[in-house]
C-alpha cells in the first residue's frame, strides 16, 4: 500500500507546537472565504449568510475564536491546588485548574492519545487528570506522568514530554474574571479591554473587596447563532420597550408601566475597534434592581470613588459584550458566555456575580432577582431567547437569507462626548453592532497565527 503525496500538501497547514511527524493538512481543508462583501460598516448592512453558513462558521472558529481572548470563569471557582472546572473556548473543551504553585492554568480537555475528553465533570478536585478511555494521566502542570503498557511504544521514539496536555498560549485575570487565548501573538488582555475597563469597573469594582459568585453555573441550550446574542448584549437597547413590554409592566411599581422619562431614557453606548460594546441609560432612576440591593449601596460613596458619571451611567441598567462572546448586565449581576455549537445553536452559561461584602440577605436578594429576570426562565431572558431562536429558525430560507439586515441606527454618531472614555453614541444605536461585525470581518479576513507561523518555530 502506498499513499501518493499531492502538490497541495507541500504548502498545507501544519499544526505548530506539538509532535506532528509527517502529518500535514492540505490547503483544500483550510477556510479562507473573503467576507469583506458580507459586512458593510459604511452603510450599516450585514449579509445574513454570516449566521447560517457552515464554511464561515469553521473559519470563525479558526480565525475569531482561535485568536481572541475568551472568557473562562471566575477566580472564585478555583480555591486550592487541584480544584478544576471545565468549559469551552469556541467549540474546544478546556480544563481550568490551579497547579501546585497556585497558578491558574488552562488545557485543552482532549486526550493526546485518542482524543477523548480527559475530564467529564463540570467541576471538582483532582490530583491528576486521567483519561477514562485508556488511562493516560497528566499532573496539574499538564505533564504526562503515566501511560499504561508504555513498553509497547519502545520503537516509536516515544517521549512523555512530547505528549503533555495542550495549554493555552496566554491566560490573564481582569476584575476577577479569567480569560485565555490560544494566540501567542495576541496583544495583552489589558489592551484588548482598553477603555472597556472603565465600564466594567462600574459593575465589578463596586466593592473594593472584589466580587464572588453564586455556586453553580446555569447552563442551557438555545437555537440561534451565537453572534445574535453577543451582538444584542453589545449594542441593543432598542428592543427593550418592545420585546420586554410585559416584563416592564409587571415590574413597574404602579403596575401600569414605567414613567415616560424612564421608558425613553437618555443614555450612551460605548464601542471600540476591538469589537467591545456597552450601552447604559444616564437617568439616575433607571436602575431596575432588587430593593434590598438598591438600599445596600451607598451611592454617595460610589460617586466619590468611581465618579458621578460612572454611577449614573454604566452602573445603571446597562448591557455589555466583551468581544467576542462574553457579556454581562451590571445591575442584575449576570455574566454569561455564548458558546457556539454549530451555526444554528448556542449554549448559554450564566453566573450570578455578587459583591464580596454583601451580607447574606442582600446576596439572596440579588441571586433571586437575577434568576427571575435573566435566569433561563427569567422574564427578560425568555423574551431575548425567543427573538434569537425566531430569527435563526427562518434564516436558512433562500429569499430570507439573501436580504441584507439593517444596522444603520446612529450611523456616524460615534464621538468623544467629553464625559465617557472612548467613543460613544446615543443609547439607541447600532454603533457597537457595526463595530462588533467590523472586528469579526477583520479577523475573518486575516490569516490567523496558526496559519502563518513557521512550523519550525
Amino acid at each position: 500500500m502506498s499513499i501518493t503525496q499531492l502538490p497541495s500538501t507541500e504548502v498545507g497547514e501544519r499544526h505548530p507546537g506539538f509532535e506532528c511527524g509527517n502529518i500535514c493538512r492540505p490547503e483544500e481543508l483550510s477556510r479562507n472565504v473573503d467576507v469583506s462583501g458580507l459586512v458593510d460598516r459604511q452603510t450599516g448592512l450585514v449579509d445574513r449568510v454570516i449566521f447560517t453558513d457552515r464554511t464561515l462558521y469553521e473559519q470563525e472558529l479558526a480565525r475569531v475564536f482561535a485568536t481572541s481572548w475568551l472568557f473562562l470563569g471566575h477566580v472564585e471557582q478555583l480555591q486550592k491546588a487541584g480544584d478544576f472546572f471545565t468549559t469551552y473556548m469556541g467549540e474546544d473543551p478546556v480544563i481550568v485548574t490551579k497547579d501546585k504553585s497556585g497558578s491558574i492554568r488552562a488545557y485543552l480537555n482532549s486526550c493526546r492519545h485518542r482524543g477523548a475528553r480527559v475530564l467529564r465533570a463540570d467541576y471538582g478536585k483532582a490530583r491528576n487528570f486521567t483519561c477514562t478511555y485508556h488511562g493516560w494521566s497528566w499532573d496539574l502542570a499538564g505533564k504526562l506522568i503515566s501511560v499504561p503498557n508504555e513498553e509497547g511504544y519502545a520503537n516509536a521514539n516515544f517521549d512523555r514530554d512530547d505528549w503533555g496536555l495542550v495549554e493555552v498560549a496566554q491566560l490573564d485575570v481582569a476584575f476577577g474574571l479569567i480569560f485565555a487565548t490560544w494566540n501567542p501573538d495576541a496583544p495583552p488582555l489589558d489592551e484588548q479591554l482598553g477603555d472597556m475597563k472603565y465600564y466594567m469597573e462600574a459593575f465589578l469594582g463596586r466593592d473594593p473587596e472584589g466580587t464572588t459568585i453564586v455556586g453553580g453555573i446555569t447552563k442551557w441550550v438555545l437555537k440561534g447563532n451565537w453572534k445574535l446574542a453577543a451582538e444584542q448584549f453589545g449594542t441593543d437597547w432598542y428592543h427593550v420597550n418592545m420585546s420586554h413590554a410585559s416584563a416592564l409592566m409587571v415590574l413597574s411599581p404602579t403596575g401600569k408601566g414605567p414613567k415616560e422619562s424612564i421608558a425613553n431614557t437618555p443614555g450612551r453606548q460605548y464601542s471600540d475597534e476591538r469589537g467591545n460594546g456597552t450601552g447604559f441609560p444616564t437617568h439616575p432612576k433607571s436602575r431596575f434592581d432588587a430593593q434590598p440591593v438598591h438600599e445596600y449601596y451607598d451611592y454617595d460613596e460610589l460617586r466619590e470613588r468611581l465618579g458621578t458619571a460612572r454611577v449614573e451611567g454604566p452602573m445603571t441598567t446597562g448591557h455589555a459584550t466583551v468581544f467576542p462572546n462574553f457579556s454581562y448586565l451590571p445591575v442584575n449581576g449576570s455574566i454569561r458566555v455564548w458558546h457556539p455549537k454549530g451555526v444554528d445553536e448556542m449554549e448559554i452559561w450564566s453566573w450570578t456575580v455578587l459583591d464580596k461584602s454583601m451580607p447574606e440577605d442582600v446576596r439572596e436578594a440579588q441571586r433571586l432577582y437575577n434568576l427571575r429576570t435573566f435566569g433561563p426562565s427569567g422574564i427578560f431572558e425568555q423574551d431575548d431567547g425567543e427573538n434569537w431562536s425566531e430569527v435563526q429558525s427562518i434564516s436558512h430560507g433562500w429569499r430570507t437569507n439573501t436580504v441584507p439586515l439593517n444596522y444603520q441606527m446612529g450611523l456616524g454618531s460615534e464621538r468623544h462626548d467629553g464625559v465617557y472614555p472612548g467613543e460613544t453614541s446615543e443609547l439607541y444605536s447600532d454603533a457597537a453592532g457595526r463595530r462588533f461585525y467590523g472586528r469579526w470581518a477583520e479577523l475573518m479576513n486575516t490569516p490567523a497565527w496558526h496559519e502563518t507561523r513557521n512550523v519550525h518555530e
Partner: protein, 113 residues
C-alpha cells in the same frame, strides 16, 4: 506491645480520608508504605500501586478502600486485596497499632528489605 513497630506519625498528623507516605528506609521495607486514616481507623499498605507507578498515599480513601489516584484501581485497606480493575495483583498490608498518640507500623515480614 507498646515496644512493637516503628512510630511513623502522631494521631492528628493524617487528616480523615487522607494518607501519608513513609519512606522504605524508615521501616526497612522494599517499598514505601502508605498509612491511611479512614474515619479514625488507621491502616498501612505498600505504597506503590500494582498496576502502574503511582503512590497510593495520594489516593482517595473511602469505605474501607483506597482508590489509586491515577487509574482508580481499588484496594482493601485491611488486607490489601484488589477490589477493582485495572489492578489485578494485591498490595501487601502492614500492621498498624495505636500506642497513645503514637501511630506505629509493624512491617510485614515478607516485605522487609
Amino acid at each position: 506491645m507498646s515496644e512493637e513497630g516503628i512510630v511513623v506519625a502522631q494521631v492528628g498528623d493524617i487528616d480523615e480520608g487522607e494518607g501519608i507516605q513513609i519512606e522504605a528506609a524508615v521501616l526497612g521495607t522494599v517499598d514505601n508504605v502508605a498509612v491511611f486514616n479512614d474515619d479514625g481507623e488507621y491502616f498501612a499498605l505498600d505504597d506503590t500501586c500494582t498496576h502502574e507507578v503511582a503512590s497510593l498515599s495520594e489516593g482517595w480513601v473511602e469505605d474501607g478502600c483506597v482508590e489509586c489516584p491515577l487509574h482508580a484501581a481499588k484496594f482493601c485497606l485491611g488486607d490489601g486485596s484488589v477490589q477493582s480493575m485495572p489492578a489485578t495483583v494485591d498490595v501487601y498490608p502492614h500492621r498498624v497499632v495505636l500506642d497513645g498518640d503514637d501511630i506505629r507500623v509493624i512491617p510485614n515480614p515478607e516485605r522487609l528489605a
